[in-house]
Amino acid sequence: MRLSIQGLSLGYGRLTAVDDVSFDIESGEMVSIVGPNGSGKSTLLRGLARLQRPTRGRVLLGETDIRSLGARQVARQLAVLPQSPDGGADLTVRELVYRGRFPHQGILQRLTRADVEAVDWAMKAADVELLAARTLAHLSGGERQRAWIAMALAQQPRVLLLDEPTSFLDIAHQVEVMELLQRLNHDGITVVAVLHDLALAARYTRRVIAMREGRVAFDGAPAEVMEPVGLAKVFGIAMTVLTDPESGLPIPIPRSKASLTPRDAIATDRP
């Protein structure tokens, strides 16, 4: 199920946060959206997730404009995990994941076999089976994030959108979540994640879209697009890009902000 963004603009009042952005995400892709604060990356994700009405342009899921579909209809195909969700603290993991079945349920919300199977699958895929009876408030950051991902999975989406799923997590938990997303993508779910950590983006996603001031600055495979000039333009800071000897993927490293000329930014030890 392809996600097509066509001439999308989003704003808050007179402030334009996303300005005429267009790109396609094919089915099965694993995409990260990066950029400095205020670049519009979160707003872009909200636009994709139908959480915010665009001022111009549209988002197509397959051939259909998502705004012409009902909210529940969209929710059956597209799941979104907002930044730091804080609700449901007194729910158990199982109860939370069941909430994810809402888009599929009828008006009486009777439990069907399909619901139970979907929940079981989601909890297994997100690796939270053993936490089923624990309350969200009593989980660690990484466990809680996985529980929320399980809830999103219970929607049985084709596309999973996540807004900074690794913020506020320690390094081990960050890896935990990213590896989970990779596994899900391997199983066929399209994953689009806004990430603040360039190294994670480079390591775990196969396509990086960088935003700057509401527009796409670059868009492509990490090895191609993550180079010092482009990164400096987007982030306004000089970077050195190393290569991970194991995977061959780039590892961007920030340099001091004082040196900002393009010549300094070119310093690299790539062969």
Binding site: R94, Y98, L108, Q109, R110
Partner: protein, 339 residues
């Protein structure tokens, strides 16, 4: 989490639904209509009271009367067991030659009524106790019980109810006429009416065309004064005697219907010849008539200096509008005609 599966439906939802349907069905079983009740004539109970009056001609009943709230009520036979729900109602019943078996707590006139069972206050009569007395007629008060919260429960009693009260001189006469119809005792009530009219005429004569101004004052717990306007019962008593009421043109204000708040300045400005001061609280609370002369701004009032501040009894002027209007006329006449 309770799973809403088949087991839930069988164990909880269905019984609850069945229960509610059953409750609904039984509820719709026994009910009355809104509006005028067709009075059900409960037969006077086995305690057949020996009537001391000669047997009434059968042709007098059943009759249809129109009470003071404009309701058409059918009286099937002469009412014997009567419950009256206000002091006025009690007095009207006795004035028409009847007697009550149930009365409200403050209704202690006439003396014969004291032995009747108390059935609550006029503003919250106890419906169960009214029913327990098995009355053939309930006399409610058209001024106290006009509001839906009191009128509706009384109307819904399975007993005929008439609303008779008075907020003016004319209404006293109308209420007595109504009672005369209800009790088939026109001669008795006509006599009472004649007495009232005579008392009014006597009072007017005693005043002998003196042009006087007077205020009827009552105070609340915060000592705010209220003056009666001609729309109130007390104000109407004065008006019937041709006494001028300076507060008549003020707008209604305050919690007493037909009364207007009177500031101290206004009282000084009006400076009436007579002040009839009503004290709502019973003895030993101080009488308003003794308090007013003691208040410094009022010491120079005409009424105070000429000793024309009169203690007006609350029963006659406020509490029990009805046949005792005669006493009110007498009191005013006595005060105004005195030198």
């Amino acid at each position: 989490m309770i799973s809403f599966n088949g087991r839930f439906i069988r164990l909880v939802a269905l019984p609850l639904a069945a229960l509610s349907v059953a409750a609904f069905a039984t509820a719709c079983g026994g009910d009355d209509d809104d509006g005028d009740t067709e009075p059900t004539q409960a037969a006077p109970s086995a305690s057949a009271s020996v009537s001391s009056s000669p047997p009434v001609a059968a042709a007098a009943y059943p009759i249809k009367v129109k009470d003071l709230l404009g309701r058409e009520v059918e009286i099937k036979s002469k009412p014997v067991t009567i419950v009256a729900v206000s002091p006025t109602a009690v007095e009207l019943v006795y004035a028409a030659g009847g007697k009550v078996v149930g009365r409200t707590t403050t209704a202690t006139f006439p003396e014969a009524a004291k032995s009747a069972k108390e059935i609550g206050t006029a503003y919250q009569p106890n419906l169960e106790q009214i029913l327990a007395l098995k009355p053939d007629l309930v006399v409610a008060d058209s001024s106290i019980h006009a509001q839906p919260a009191l009128r509706q429960p009384l109307e819904q009693l399975p007993v005929p109810v008439i609303f008779a009260g008075a907020e003016s001189y004319q209404q006293v006469l109308d209420a007595l006429k109504l009672m005369g119809q209800v009790f088939d005792s026109k001669t008795t009530t006509d006599r009472v009416i004649a007495d009232i009219e005579k008392a009014k005429d006597d009072a007017k004569k005693a005043i002998a065309g003196k042009k006087v101004t007077a205020l009827v004052l009552i105070a609340d717990r915060d000592n705010t004064f209220y003056a009666a306007k001609t729309t109130s019962y007390a104000g109407d008593i004065l008006a019937q005697l041709g006494i001028e009421n300076p507060a008549a043109s003020q707008a209604d204000s305050g919690p007493f219907p037909g009364y207007t708040t009177l500031s101290a300045e206004k009282l000084v400005q009006f400076n009436p010849d007579y002040i009839f001061a009503i004290t709502a609280a019973p003895e030993p609370a101080p009488r308003l008539a003794t308090l007013i002369p003691a208040i410094p701004p009022f010491k120079a009032l005409k009424a105070v200096t000429s000793n024309h501040v009169i203690d007006a009894k609350v029963d006659y002027f406020v509490q029990a509008p009805g046949p005792r209007i005669i006493e009110a006329f007498k009191a005013v006449a006595a005060a105004v005609s005195a030198p």
